[in-house]
Structure formats: structure tokens, C-alpha cells
């Protein structure tokens, strides 16, 4: 029903409601002595969350809002579903000062060379300047995080690290996260001040296969939530097949196998991306119609529904209706 009225009128209806609510509560805000700016912020946050939900068909003439949604390097979809929680309008009066003071600086991370990849690789990510004071960055970019990114192509690895850093610093300081995301999209333009940080990692991957497998598990989690939680449990299930295969091969072709694993990595990861990307996984579970009934009629096992004033969310998309009549058998 993508072209039908119940779909195309959604955005208009929602905008009317938003405007109506905003003007309806303006006096309440004034009474409580709250700045108009906060009300505008509420409106902007609401609108951007609405668009980020993907439930509303966005028309072309609203490009100003899309900047909030997607950093584009490598992970279009999984990021979006995390973002709404972090979406803070850029102007938060209480925190303006820290925003002003917080500059983003690019840092380079040199990864040690690894079997299956030629030579060391250099990743560039943006971090708040304040993070360079003390040991903050080293605390965030811990060994496991770096290890997790080693098996990934540089572009994915750097966006992964960027997400991780964003998540880590946003929990410390919300205002920073906002700036952080914006800068992430214009990656690479501010290289006036490069700071190199080398992470020295045990470089003997080839000596231990169990370590290699561990590396392969970790990245998948990172892509979803972007922060450093340690619940490896979920991953074990999905990796079982491969480990079983590996065990069979282990007996005589040890050396061979390490290279094979290096080769397998990319398909493994890209496959995971696909499943994470699939919006139906996240939205399909609840198709809900919220409405009012004029009449509900039952005749034996035959039911007739006369509904009105409804909002539906079907397969993640919103619809509105004035009337909806239907029937079903029980």
C-alpha cells in the first residue's frame, strides 16, 4: 500500500500532530519558566527520532534532517538502530561550553601485520581532544578492541573503532558524542594535526589458533552495539559450525589452515552484516494496529470489525486510516 492514501498521508498527519502539540504546550513551558529553546529542541529530537525510526516515508524536500542519521562508512543499517538513543540535538544549553571546548582530532592507529594481510595497516579515527589528556584513550582502546578489528578490512575496522570510541566517550560526555558523529562523516578532512598511537600487541598470531578464532568472534558483536560489552555467549552458537569444520582440518594441515581462516574471514563478516542490516529482523515482530471500534459483530465463528481512527505499524511502516472494516473467522 505504498502509494495509497493511508501511507502517503502519514507524514502530513504526524507533522500536524507535532506542530499542534508544540503550540499546545508552549504556554505550559512559559509557565514553568522554561526557555523556548528547550521546546524547539523537543520538537527537533522528536522529528529526528521519527525519521530515524524508518516508519515514515520521507520525502525529498526534507533533507535537513537526514544529517542526523547515518555515518556512511561501511555500516549503514546497524548503526541507525543504536543512534536514536544517542541522538541529542546539537544545542544543549547546559553543555554548550564543553561543546565549544571539545575539538575533534584525528589519530592514527597502526595495527601490527597479520597473516592473510600484507603489512601493518594504519587506521584513522576522530576522537575528542580532551581524550588525549591522561590515559583516557588507552583505556577506551583496549587490547581486545584492537584485536577485534585486526581481522577486518581497514575501512570497516576504522569505522568500528570510531563507533567504539564514540560510544565510550558519549557515555562520559554526551555533548562530545554529537560532535563526534558529525566529524566522523567528514572523515579525513582535518589532518592538520595527526597524532600517532602505536598499540603493541602480541604479534605471534600464527602460533596459536585458538587466538585466531577468538578474533573472529569478537568483531560481530562490536558491529551491533558499538560498545565493549563482553557477552561472547551469543557468538559461540553461531560460530559452532566453523569450529567443527576447523577441528576436522586441524589434524594435518595446521599451517595451511591459518591462511584459510584468513581467507574465510571476510565472507563470514560480510554475511553477518547482511543479517544485521535486515530491518525485518528488528521490526517484523510487532505488527500493531491501534484504533477505536465502532462495532464488533460476531456470528458463530464469523467476526466483522468496524474500526476507525487507526494508526498501523505493518512491517515497520506506519499507516493511518479513518475507517477500516474487516472480517475473520475464529
Amino acid at each position: 500500500m505504498s502509494n495509497s492514501l493511508c501511507k502517503t498521508s502519514v507524514l502530513r498527519i504526524y507533522q500536524e500532530v507535532i506542530d499542534d502539540v508544540v503550540s499546545g504546550v508552549r504556554d505550559l513551558f512559559v509557565e514553568e519558566g522554561i526557555d523556548e529553546q528547550v521546546l524547539q529542541e523537543l520538537k527537533q529530537t522528536w522529528e529526528s527520532k521519527l525519521l530515524a525510526s524508518k516508519a515514515v516515508q520521507v520525502e525529498e524536500e526534507k533533507p535537513k534532517k537526514q544529517g542526523n542519521v547515518i555515518p556512511s562508512n561501511g555500516f549503514p543499517k546497524p548503526v541507525q538502530h543504536i543512534q536514536p538513543a544517542q541522538q541529542i540535538p546539537p544545542v544543549v544549553p547546559a553543555q554548550v561550553q564543553s561543546v565549544v571546548e571539545t575539538r575533534m582530532v584525528p589519530i592514527q592507529i597502526t595495527l601490527p601485520p597479520q597473516p592473510g594481510n600484507d603489512g601493518g595497516r594504519v587506521l584513522t579515527i576522530q576522537v575528542p581532544a580532551t581524550a588525549l589528556q591522561g590515559n583516557q584513550l588507552q583505556k577506551v582502546l583496549t587490547g581486545p578492541v584492537i584485536t577485534a578489528t585486526m581481522g577486518l578490512p581497514p575501512s570497516i575496522a576504522s569505522s568500528l573503532l570510531q563507533q567504539h570510541v564514540n560510544a565510550a566517550f558519549s557515555s562520559q560526555q554526551q555533548a562530545v558524542a554529537v560532535i563526534n558523529r558529525n566529524v566522523a562523516q567528514t572523515d579525513g578532512t582535518h589532518d592538520d594535526e595527526q597524532i600517532e598511537i602505536e598499540f603493541i600487541l602480541p604479534n605471534k598470531c600464527s602460533s596459536s589458533k585458538s587466538k585466531l578464532r577468538h578474533q573472529r568472534k569478537v568483531p560481530k558483536l562490536k558491529q551491533v552495539d558499538g560498545s565493549m560489552d563482553t557477552s561472547d555467549d551469543d557468538e559461540d552458537g553461531s560460530d559452532d559450525d566453523n569450529e567443527d569444520d576447523d577441528l576436522d582440518d586441524d589434524k594435518d594441515e595446521d599451517d595451511q589452515e591459518i591462511e584459510d581462516e584468513g581467507g574465510e574471514e571476510e565472507p563470514l563478516n560480510s554475511e553477518d552484516d547482511v543479517s544485521d542490516d535486515d530491518p525485518t529482523d528488528l521490526f517484523d515482530t510487532d505488527n500493531i494496529v491501534v484504533c477505536q471500534y465502532d462495532k464488533i459483530i460476531r456470528n458463530r465463528n464469523k467476526w466483522k470489525f468496524y474500526l476507525k481512527d487507526g494508526i498501523m505499524n505493518l512491517n515497520g511502516l506506519d499507516y493511518v486510516f479513518q475507517k477500516a472494516n474487516g472480517d475473520a473467522e475464529w
Partner: protein, 112 residues
């Protein structure tokens, strides 16, 4: 005069999330947020009643579950085909929550 059930929609949920953020930053109080939600109830009920013109029909393969409690109907339908004129959307499973349409306006304040 306004039902609260539309809070459990994309529009209502995103509003509540936005309000929660403002509360977290200490920019508004819980009380003010509640008042905003009441205004939302009023606006959405009003807008749906007066500004939406789309009409559709649906046919379900099966009414799986029904419940009538506190004047609210809840249905779980399987294999549903929604249709507006020529456009059709098919859904495996859908939940319908419906408040009594006659109460609105009559009672003054039936909030459910």
C-alpha cells in the same frame, strides 16, 4: 476526552523518548513531560478524527485470539490482507488494539 492508547505508536513512542532525554538532562520535569503527553493525546485523537480520510478494508485468514476487557478489544489476526482500493499489504500476524469509538467526546474524560 482523549484516549492514551496512541502513545504506543511510532509517533507516541518517539515523543516519550524525546521527553525522557530532556528529563535526564534536567531540562524539564516529569510533571511537565506528563502534561506534554496529555497534549499529545488530545492532538492525536483530534487529528485522527478530523484530518485522516483514508479508508481501507482487511480480511484475515484466521482470528487467532480475541479479548474484551475494560471496553478494549484486542485481536490477534493471522494471514491478513489490508487493502486500500488497488493497493494491498499482506501480513502474517497482526495485533489490533481498539478502544470504544463511541465514548470519545461523550464522556468528557475517558482515559484508557
Amino acid at each position: 476526552m482523549s484516549y492514551q492508547l496512541y502513545r504506543n505508536t511510532t509517533l507516541g513512542n518517539t515523543l516519550q523518548e524525546s521527553l525522557d532525554e530532556l528529563i535526564q538532562y534536567g531540562q524539564i520535569t516529569q510533571q511537565l513531560a506528563s502534561k506534554v503527553l496529555l497534549q499529545f493525546d488530545k492532538s492525536i485523537n483530534q487529528t485522527l478524527a478530523t484530518r485522516v480520510k483514508s479508508r481501507l478494508t482487511f480480511k484475515a485468514g484466521k482470528l487467532n485470539t480475541y479479548r474484551f476487557c475494560d471496553n478494549v478489544w484486542t485481536f490477534m489476526l493471522n494471514d491478513v490482507e489490508f487493502r486500500e482500493v488497488q493497493e494491498i499489504t499482506r501480513i502474517d500476524k497482526v495485533k489490533i488494539v481498539a478502544c470504544d469509538g463511541k465514548n470519545v467526546g461523550d464522556e468528557g474524560s475517558s482515559k484508557k
